[in-house]
Amino acid sequence: MCSQLIHRSGWNSLIVDQHHDLRGIYNWCVDRYQYLILMGLCILGTLPLELVLGARVYRQPRRLMLTMIVPVCLFAVWDVFAIAWDHWSYTPEFVTGWELPGALPVEELTFFLVIPICGLLTLETVRKLRGR
């Protein structure tokens, strides 16, 4: 009976530990990618604008790449200063911790690529549907 009790309490603590570990593993796997996953969903969500409605944004890769240089560079500089001046900060739990020079989270660079591309896809789709 005694051994049974020990066994049971051991089992219980194992369950508790396992629950705790699973929570930790979940945080490690999912929460730190929250920002990147959100950006990925933006790209996936707007993909039909290109593939189904024919926005023709990704199909002009040279024009797209040249365009993106401008907002990415300007807004990344703004972001680096805003972080340095403590205008805003990122919750460590929800970002990967991968940082570019100037303490710029890689998520922010992704944001400056993804959001403008979503904007261009929207603009070109509206133009196409309205017949330019």
Binding site: L38, T67, V70, P71, L74, I115
Partner: protein, 125 residues
């Protein structure tokens, strides 16, 4: 209340508008498609920015000393919408600038093609 983020946002908006009106001159502000696209982009910004700024577990935390203190929709600082306007509008203006150049050269090429085909027709006749 005007914080540093408020001022920088207003500055960015003014600079982007001036860039279009004085330098790029794509005429994008005179097209309905631009304004319709911006309304759609604005709607999705409420959701995406809202996820980043939501009060329950924000991904981005704002220093309350540097912005107006006005939070809209899902706890997003009002300034974020000016930031988004400047970011997306600048991208669209540059995109149109580069496209205009491409369209122009295509038109030139087409003119050449037409001229060539007319020369061919003439020589065949």
């Amino acid at each position: 209340m005007m914080g540093a983020y408020t001022l920088l946002t207003l500055l960015a908006m003014v600079l982007v508008v001036l860039y279009e009106l004085l330098i790029a001159r794509t005429g994008i502000f005179r097209t309905g498609s631009y304004w319709i696209a911006m309304v759609i982009v604005g709607f999705f910004q409420v959701l995406v920015d809202g996820w980043l700024t939501k009060a329950s577990s924000p991904i981005v935390n704002y220093n309350s000393d540097v912005f107006s203190g006005i939070r809209v929709f899902f706890h997003s600082p009002l300034e974020d919408f000016g930031f988004g306007f400047a970011l997306v509008t600048l991208t669209m203006v540059v995109w149109d600038q580069l496209g205009r150049r491409a369209t122009h050269s295509v038109e030139l090429n087409n003119t050449n093609v037409i001229a060539d085909s007319e020369a061919v027709i003439e020589s065949e006749a």
